[in-house]
Symmetry: C2
Subunit: 330 residues, 2 copies
DNA sequence: CGCAACATTTACAACGTTATAGAATAGTGG
DNA sequence: CCACTATTCTATAACGTTGTAAATGTTGCG
């Protein structure tokens, strides 16, 4: 910057002012500076700028694992939206481990970012509140619904209700659910299960706890869950995976076992990952409006960082959803 | 740091020395400093450290799109390996657009990182060489094979040859290839196609250009490519997708059209993404040793950054591969 | 012509760290 | 007990930027 100042015959600060679009600069001076910058190929040093300003123009994204399709797609979209606002996204994988989530919250990672998009999987809301620090955090997903935090989420219950209603409308009465968890009703499995029950109730169908299976939210979790359901002799005419990869795992296992889809058993998922469309049969699922989630969460976080949004209570935003009816459950 | 120094009754620099494991520090002094750090909850400011040292301890990763399963998995593994060496990974999506690739190479992104893992898709090697700058770059993938650059790649030709040989051994003679490109033989489609031809030759099978189809390296690319092959009436008894997602798209399309897999047509892919195992039928593919690629590329890049590796020629590393025989092509 | 009032530019300090080089202290041999 | 070396510590100056406040230019008006 010194060199530029010398080349343009102005002071250091004037160059800085040009770079920062300071109002009171004579056009001629500005041009001289810009010429010098172009000629010398000067680029501002971002590290120095960060040190001085205390801002990094990076957003932190904490999620369990980028290799999970839903998170890969989410990260991709968030990065694109953030880029359009002049921010970068730095990803931290927690692996769903409490210690990693905590260190993402307080450790050096936090320092590198101006704000956090946080998908907590193991940490409870009070622990997070105790370690939230000073910079803005926007929660993604559903584990947290607390007035202390901003939250951008999908309409879990409504979407699960809609897809269950669709299965019921197709004549299914015994709908197995994969991926439920014990206890909590405010996290995404809980909310989706609520939606499921509500749809059953509305249709006057019986709720059978034997149809609700706990398993890992992964492909092989869904596969083995549906396998043990078959082995145990529980009857069912539909499977609702609380996310797509479990549903796809189940779909695969059902086919391996010679069960006809969708004639014998219909399969539905949740997320509408890219892959769902190309499964055989194509997976009926619900699209949680990821584009909207990405846009609104980035906007909210940046507005908090830049002081545009000043609500003292946490804002809770729910993105719309869309039912995607395909061959696995027509 | 000033506060810590005061609390410990030592100078600023002594605190810095403790933090940097400077050799000549009395154990008692070191302990005093560590106690003061613990008591005050001090954490070093990474931005200031970066400004002073010129290092960010971040590695840049340039790839087309994180939502592509192969890249999601790769990024995830790279981040894990990098973390174990005390580095973070900052991802930049190029979308396969030349302009974005170029700006990742020279723009502010470069400043934020100590070195680059680069997966060039559109830029040619001379353009890259012209803009490579001063910091280390390790190429990932296959578009570049040039003595000027370090490269970590998979055994494209050998792996493609192996999987083609497997199809031939299964009695297939007319193997369609999806995802070929015109011209280049040193990029990954080119190398894989070479392996395909070599296997044909070794088996004395005829090479038919009509079986080689160009398409986008995406799910719907594979689907529509195999669709138009069917429509055009070209006979084939196997499909080799040059990557898994094309193969999976093709697999889906074949099933939709009522073709029996693997009886009528066998399908094979390349990459062994997580999803391949759970397709129906499960996809036969080749695993390119991603773990090894991740480990060796991170190690090489960090060794270059830290001056451990000083070879003046580019190092070319090929990771091993493993054939994954599954139901789509037994 | 003089002096507000405003526009434009500048000098200097600061952000929090590490490198350099030198000062202080401890240890050793004669 | 002194000179000399090895160890341990510290003062000062950077790294490259922006905020503050003050200096300088310019314009308009009485």
């Amino acid at each position: 910057m010194n060199d530029v100042a010398r080349a343009a015959g102005v002071s250091l600060k004037t160059v800085s002012n040009v770079l920062n679009d300071y109002e009171f600069i004579r056009p001629a001076t500005k041009q001289k500076v810009l010429d010098a910058i172009a000629e010398l190929g000067y680029e501002a040093n971002l590290t120095a700028r960060s040190l001085r300003s205390g801002k990094t123009r990076m957003l932190g994204l904490v999620l369990s694992d980028l290799s999970i399709p839903y998170y890969g797609e989410l990260a991709s979209r968030l990065m694109t939206v953030a880029a359009s606002r002049g921010y970068r996204v730095l990803v931290e994988q927690s692996g769903g481990v409490a210690g990693h989530e905590l260190s993402a919250l307080q450790g050096p990672f936090r320092q590198l970012t101006d704000g956090l998009l946080f998908t907590p999987l193991t940490l409870d809301v009070d622990t997070i509140a105790a370690h939230q620090g000073i910079k803005p955090i926007v929660m993604l997903g559903e584990h947290i619904a607390d007035p202390r935090f901003d939250l951008v989420t999908m309409k879990n219950a409504e979407a699960a209700e809609a897809i269950t209603a669709h299965l019921l409308a197709g004549g299914r009465r015994r709908i197995a659910v994969l991926g439920a968890t014990a206890g909590a009703t405010t996290d995404s499995p809980g909310l989706r299960l609520n939606g499921y029950r509500k749809a059953l109730e509305a249709a006057g169908a019986e709720f059978d706890p034997a149809l609700v299976v706990q398993c890992d939210w992964r492909r092989d979790g869904g596969a083995s869950a549906v396998g043990s359901l078959l082995d145990s002799g529980v009857r069912f005419d539909a499977v609702f995976g609380l996310n797509d990869v479990m549903a796809l795992g189940a779909l695969h296992e059902l086919l391996v076992r010679g069960i006809r889809l969708p004639d014998d058993v219909a399969v539905a998922g949740f997320d509408d990952i890219d892959e769902a469309r190309f499964a055989s049969p194509a997976l009926t699922t619900v699209s949680p409006g990821m584009e909207e989630i990405a846009e609104r969460s980035i906007k909210l976080l940046i507005d908090r960082i830049e002081g545009v949004e000043t609500a003292s209570e946490g804002l809770h935003i729910e993105a719309g959803f869309e039912l995607k009816v395909r061959d696995s459950a027509p």
